[in-house]
Amino acid sequence: MNLVAKYYGSAFGKRLTKRKVVDFLTPFAFLSPSIVIIGLFVLFPVFFSFYLSFQKWNMFSSQSTFVGLENYSRLIADPEFWQVLKNTLIYTVGTVPLNMVVALFVANELNKRIIGKKFLRTLFFAPVVISPVAAAVIWRWLYDPNVGIINYVFDIFGIGSVNWLNDPDAAMIALIIMGVWKTFGINMVLFSAGLQAIPEHYYEAADIDGAGKFSKFWHITIPLLTPTTLFIMIMSMIASLQVFDIVYVLTSGGPLGSTKVLVFQVYEYAFKFFEMGYASAIAYVLFAILFIFTIIQIKLMKVKY
């Protein structure tokens, strides 16, 4: 107590009462658990992985060596990195638009008079809540080349069977389809919120003008939904660029590296090859890409409000 009093004495003027010290320390007592955890596992790591990206370190030696930009130049020269970056972008470009179209369609339908709305919403949202691991195990079964149900349905329609997870061209498509299934429920909920925020009188005015359903959707819903749409788009892109769990379980990055994505590569270099420096450099490249999207998103939010 004395020490505290001495140290903070000046902050309280001459009359240092116990009450004042308590008042001064209370906020820090309330915040300290959060600050310690977030500091140790978020803030320190952000800076430390930046530092690591200029080091060569295998984790087992006690010292890392400074290598300057070597990790980054190695990355630029590494054809595998470019392939992985390309895969990540293909996954993102393949997932996000499809995801949004399905989500908007479902949200728009559920915004109309539909019997069993709540029940339907529950079904559409169910894939979101289950673990990516379980979802990928289930989809491995659906995609099974010999007895999988998807190839059976293809068979019925006379489309040849596809070797989903063993064909480098098909594996990415399989991943995208599963990714859309797993996450469109999130965007459905966000679109629903956006749709409900559109004032009814716009539609009433359009009715008076004799506008048709499609015309109303195109000229009222779509423009008024634009902030929501942009927001969802950026959010989905940020999420898709970081896909890992479903890749790990569905394809393990294969076949022939055709579904290897950035986070998977970070994981491999860090925890399989123990090249902490190189892995951190890859992570930072991804961080830089995500940061751009985050900035765009913040700017968009400012426009919105």
């Binding site: 309330f30 915040l31 978020v42 790591p45 339907l120 894939p127 195990v137 289930i138 999130i186 995500l290």
Partner: protein, 282 residues
């Protein structure tokens, strides 16, 4: 009712029915993987390798489930997952509410700066912090312990923000009465604000529980013994070992999604709320 009116109404009815058919077909397709998982989980392998597929099992094999628990220590995985998820959820409720209270109600120097720093950490993606996060645990000697699975989750900027936003909507008069009665700040938080914040707390709890229970990559990195595996990690290892044993794999999957689906069906509105809130968090 004249003929055109009747015609108009029947077209409308037709359109509405068509809409129902389309959306219900989509719902069935979306939910079909779940049904197929459940059906497969009680079939035996000879049923599974039927072509064309046989939808209903010729005999219900509930013993697939006991086989799963014999083939891998899923009971242990379960215990680990539940222990970790419950501890992290309770921990976050405590740490987030305390931090949120400080940001919403206490006056101190640097409050807004620290608050914005909290917000900024929400934008840091996990993959950048994962390597040093692992190293911190390594230095602490916590790799492959419950501490490694629990401690990093014990605080959340998102949770703090969510509760802070809720606390500032609560009128201060309610607390003033408590202060006059001589209550401390901690008592005010615990006895006045927390009961009022139940909907926000439920959202946070449900969301945190789901996130931790479903987490994979963190458990993958920080544990290495079979005793420390969570359900998700156990299932992933199980799938490596029983590549095409679909009966066991599906039974394992059912077991691993069941707790979350039950929580989801029981508390759906909090999931939806959480999604909408995390959507507008920035």
């Amino acid at each position: 009712m004249n003929r055109t009116e009747r015609g108009y109404r029947s077209i409308k009815l037709l359109k509405s029915s068509l809409r129902h058919v389309i959306i219900y077909i989509m719902a069935v397709i979306t939910f079909a993987p779940f049904l197929w998982m459940i059906l497969t989980s009680v079939k035996d392998m000879s049923d599974i390798y039927q072509y064309p597929p046989q939808f209903l099992p010729s005999e219900v094999h509930l013993d697939n489930y006991s086989k799963v628990f014999e083939a891998a220590p899923f009971d242990r995985y379960y215990l680990n997952s539940i222990l970790v998820a419950v501890t992290v959820t309770l921990g976050q409720i405590i740490t987030c509410s305390m931090a949120a209270f400080a940001f919403a109600r206490l006056q101190f120097r640097g409050r807004d700066t620290i608050f914005y720093l909290f917000l900024a950490t929400m934008m840091i993606p996990f993959n950048v912090t994962m390597i040093p996060g692992f190293l911190v645990l390594h230095w602490l000697g916590w790799i492959d312990t419950y501490s490694a699975l629990i401690v990093p989750g014990l605080a959340s900027a998102f949770g703090t923000f969510l509760l802070r936003q809720f606390f500032i909507t609560i009128p201060k008069e309610l607390e003033e009465a408590a202060y006059i009665d001589g209550a401390t700040k901690l008592q005010v938080l615990w006895k006045v604000l927390m009961p009022l914040a139940k909907p926000a707390l439920a959202t946070l709890a449900v969301f945190t529980f789901m996130g931790v229970f479903n987490d994979f990559i963190w458990a993958l990195i920080v544990t290495n013994s079979d005793e420390m595996r969570t359900v998700q990690l156990g299932l992933a290892v199980f799938r490596d070992r029983y590549l095409t044993q679909w009966d066991l794999l599906m039974a394992g999957s059912v077991a691993s999604v069941l707790p979350i689906l039950i929580v989801f069906f029981a508390a759906q509105k909090y999931f939806i709320k959480g999604i909408t809130l995390s959507g507008i968090k920035d």
